[in-house]
């Protein structure tokens, strides 16, 4: 069951990415936008997407929301996707992350080790530019607010879904 955190369970938001690879910084940008706006008790994390760190970040959480940039073909830069992975759903969501050893491996490893959060929701934004440098492309920068709002909706519930 997905949605707002279960009573007693913590919720975490994890922004994955590297702000020195332009649109790869979308996840951290969303987390920055959420500072001071999330319900009490919600943890905000930044991550390079390395699987063991992701697993540690969502350890014991009833809800984990991961925000990341993706390469898509064909790409519509700035397009947002929301994916929900249930506890018993191996392979339900293996997004084409910009990190080769990353979210899909983290999910696989967490499933093998029974370390999945109660619910895992992924918000991904299609990237335009993953070259070296700082600053988001205009198309991605324009949707950071919308992505942050979508994450807040998940944290406050009660409208889970695919």
């Amino acid at each position: 069951v997905t949605g707002p955190p279960e009573p007693g369970g913590k919720a975490v938001v994890i922004g994955v990415g590297n702000e020195f690879r332009r649109d790869d910084g979308a996840g951290p940008a969303v987390v920055a936008r959420l500072r001071g706006r999330v319900p009490d008790g919600v943890e905000l994390h930044l991550s390079d997407g390395e699987p063991t760190r992701l697993i540690e970040a969502w350890h014991g959480a009833s809800l984990a929301v991961v925000v990341d940039a993706v390469r898509a073909e064909p790409a519509v830069p700035g397009r947002l996707h929301r994916l929900v992975l249930h506890r018993a759903g191996p392979g339900a969501a293996r997004p084409a992350s910009s990190h080769g050893l990353g979210l899909d491996d983290a999910i696989g490893l967490a499933l093998a080790l029974d370390r999945m959060p109660g619910a895992l929701i992924l918000h991904v934004v299609e990237a335009a530019d993953l070259s070296q440098g700082t600053g988001l492309s205009p198309a991605v920068a324009a949707v950071i607010d919308a992505a942050a709002t979508a994450v807040l909706r998940d944290l406050r519930g009660p409208a889970p879904g695919p």
Partner: protein, 437 residues
């Protein structure tokens, strides 16, 4: 596909390597005539990005080069700038710097051993598949990584891109009481690290020797981690300030990364050399702390190790070493009077070296009177090792031309992973290509 005299292989996506790049092997007339490790390397971007910035900024900026070894970048950067400004870090601040670096060694090595390298020896395509059959083993790796991350979070402020490191030391030094829980976690981790050595030593290792000159830091009386002077197996000895007199970098057409070579001497005659765990161990095995030394002896490592496949055992020994050192540093810790020494900018050039988990990491900064960076140079371990890796691949493939394409590709990937190459340190897009003609 076996026994072809001319072959071309191409595989997209070399897994379990930190970074971005490609591997190309061409076999013509039954001989390996071309091996290229193509690397797209971010340090060059950061060198340009640093120009015009303040002397206080490199620790924070260069920590972003690599998510796996930010402390290495911060430490080499700090030491280079302190060198340029004539500042000297010693005592408790220097101890904290070494302690923080131990955390990075533990975390980085545990990741490579358990998540990236061990699946090769146990016959799994990756850590996820290995975890399904060896859950307790993978949990042991995660516990070790957690211990390393705990050091980085406490001293660095956070495990990702630490924020507590500054030129001259730290923004805040912990109290002895704050370190006590860390010591308990490290004491719990030590038997796991020792078990890791025994476990890795039991793997089957191909018979393979790398003949290259070895380059590592060395320090009197202790295993080199965060500082030292450079020595080579060929008898070279030089300081960080002399690095560029002995190491030349040159462009090669197939890679955006520069290839490094030892000038003047070199066992191979063409300046090829290797840095990293094999070099560190072979040049410093006599300086290991007691439990690491005993574990190495029981694992049959001897005083030197030149088989890159056995680097997994050396890394495991170095995890023991880092935990022992961390425990010693915590036990002897006395909080410094100030968390950092003053670093007053002045015009000049400074050099810094440290032993990143993958090998020697060199930084050089040129400052003006106001402490503005006029030029920066970063030489990461993977670019230094590129020529040695390519040469090892050439010999490794030549002895296995009877393998079919899939098996040969897999063997090449494993041979590359021996070096834990951090090819881009930022994101991870990697292709492998083998041509057989």
């Amino acid at each position: 596909m076996t026994h072809q005299r001319d072959r071309t292989l191409f595989t997209s996506g070399l897994a379990r390597v930190e970074g971005e790049g490609a591997m190309y092997v061409r076999v013509s007339g039954g001989l390996v005539d071309e091996v290229q490790l193509n690397i797209y390397e971010p340090p060059r971007f950061f060198e340009a990005f640093l120009r015009g910035r303040s002397y206080t900024e490199p620790p924070d900026i260069t920590a972003r080069v690599c998510g796996i070894c930010p402390i290495a970048y911060q430490t080499s950067a700090c030491q280079a700038i302190e060198d340029a400004c004539g500042a000297r870090v010693a005592g408790g601040i220097a101890d904290l710097r070494r302690l923080l670096y131990c955390g990075e060694w533990i975390g980085s090595h545990a990741l490579h051993i358990y998540m990236l390298h061990a699946p090769d020896f146990l016959g799994y395509p990756g850590a996820v598949e290995m975890a399904a059959d060896h859950r307790a083993v993978v949990e042991r790796g995660l516990a070790l990584r957690r211990a390393g991350n705990a050091i980085m979070e406490l001293l660095g402020g956070r495990a990702i891109h630490p924020v507590n490191v500054r030129v001259g030391g730290f923004y805040r030094a912990p109290s002895a009481a704050e370190l006590a829980p860390l010591a308990r976690q490290l004491r719990d981790a030590l038997p796991l690290a020792l078990e890791t050595v025994r476990w890795a030593a039991g793997f089957d290792f191909p018979d393979f020797t790398c003949p290259h000159e070895l380059l590592a830091l060395t320090e009197p009386g202790r295993y080199p981690i965060e500082r030292g002077t450079l020595v080579s197996s060929g008898g070279l000895a030089f300081t960080a300030a002399e690095f560029e007199q002995h190491i030349a970098e040159e462009h090669v057409p197939h890679s955006t990364a520069l290839h490094a070579r030892l000038t003047g001497t070199g066992r191979s005659g063409d300046g090829r050399y290797l840095t990293g765990p094999l070099a560190r161990y072979t040049l410093n095995s006599g300086s290991l702390p007691p439990q690491a030394a005993q574990a190495a002896a029981e694992a049959g490592l001897g005083t030197s190790c030149r088989n890159p496949f056995r680097s997994i055992v050396v890394r495991a020994v170095e995890v023991v070493c880092a935990i022992e050192e961390a425990l010693r540093l915590i036990e002897e810790y006395r909080p410094p009077a100030a968390p950092a020494v003053p670093v007053i900018p002045r015009a000049g050039t400074g050099h810094g070296v440290s032993e990143a988990p993958r090998g020697v990491l060199y930084h050089r900064y040129e400052l003006d009177d106001d402490g503005i960076i006029r030029s920066a140079r970063i030489v990461p371990p993977t670019s230094q090792n590129q020529r040695a890796i390519e040469d090892d691949l050439r010999r490794f493939v030549a002895a296995r031309l009877d393998f079919d394409d899939a098996r040969l590709t897999s063997a090449c990937e494993q041979a590359i992973r021996n070096y834990d190459p951090c090819i881009s340190c930022a994101t991870h897009f990697l292709d492998l290509r083998i041509d057989r003609r």
